[in-house]
């Protein structure tokens, strides 16, 4: 449900840059969001379409690149991609250790915008 607040933040940042660059229209927005975020792409776009009506970014397509959840093994220091779900405990694919630490997957970033 916090998609609305996040989408509003995306729109504000995009409009700020669009206005300061004097663009006619924003047609695409490239985002990088970590897999740890619960944001649903479909809902972000839907909220964006609603919030951006009548602005320079009206009709812009959000393109979301998901960055993986990354763990590091404390035993062999191998970095690996992980995922979460019920009954899925995390262990190192190389040495099998369960002493692992989360090191990535929380990104929340606007890379660039495509404009006319």
């Amino acid at each position: 449900m916090h998609e609305l607040a996040v989408t509003e933040s995306i729109l504000n940042i995009v409009l700020k840059h669009a206005e300061s660059n004097g663009v006619a229209k924003v047609v695409g927005i490239n985002l990088r969001i970590g897999e740890l975020s619960d944001l649903q792409n479909k809902w972000i776009q839907r909220y964006f379409d609603y919030l951006s009506k009548g602005t320079l970014a009206d009709g812009a397509i959000l393109k979301i690149e998901r960055t993986p959840i990354v763990f590091q093994c404390q035993s062999c220091h191998r970095e690996f991609h992980g995922s979460f779900g019920p009954g899925k405990d995390v262990s190192c694919p190389k040495c099998g250790s369960t002493s692992v630490t989360l090191i990535g997957g929380r990104e929340y970033f606007i890379k660039n915008i495509e404009v006319l």
């Binding site: 449900m1 916090h2 607040a5 996040v6 933040s9 995306i10 504000n12 940042i13 995009v14 840059h17 669009a18 660059n21 663009v23 006619a24 047609v27 695409g28 985002l31 969001i33 740890l36 975020s37 619960d38 959840i69 763990f71 979460f84 779900g85 019920p86 009954g87 899925k88 405990d89 995390v90 369960t98 692992v100 630490t101 989360l102 929380r106 929340y108 970033f109 606007i110 890379k111 660039n112 915008i113 495509e114 404009v115 006319l116």
Partner: protein, 222 residues
Amino acid sequence: MEQVRLIEIKEEVLSDNREVASEVRHRLEANKVFMLNLMASPGAGKTSLILQTIKGLKDTFRIGVIEGDIASTVDAEKVSREGIPAVQLRTGGFCHLDAPMIQQALNEMDLAILNFVIIENVGNLVCPAEFDTGATKRAMILSVPEGDDKPLKYPLMFSVCDVLVINKIDYLPDSDFDMKAFRKRVHQLNRAMTIFEISCRTGEGIAPWLQWLETQIRSIRP
């Protein structure tokens, strides 16, 4: 056909909130106030823990509470009955508190006379994890009946908190909650997480929690 060009932005999505959060933090530092952002599912024991905390620390510190529970004044009333100033944020249907809301709530408090402010965030393990409120530390409660698999379902919340309170440990004998597996899951997400096992109902384990808070508050106002 007009040509599409790219404008580099490279900005964090929630940078606005982060800026306000850092203003809040400076304000707290200037007033030597320790603020705790307390998050949990509905029913995990946020209000009970706050009441136990107030009971244990109100003779030592001046405490204030910011209540974020949706459209209810019940919790603020319970806290006010303890003689503690409470600000009720009417968040409507909002699923989380953000830094501008906390900034506003702090305007209604006399920070100069307070040592410790507790934020009771909206009951939810998803949305509040995403928003920095400007609090000095983030805490979460997980109660035993919720199950030991919660770090697998809400990894972000477990990864952003500094301290975890496991509440309702009096339920442990009747449950299949695997404490060892749970602690392991938590530390995989967050190696630095400090963990307390308590029961707000029986009072078991409350003392070490209060001691931790006292150390935090005193480190800001020696």
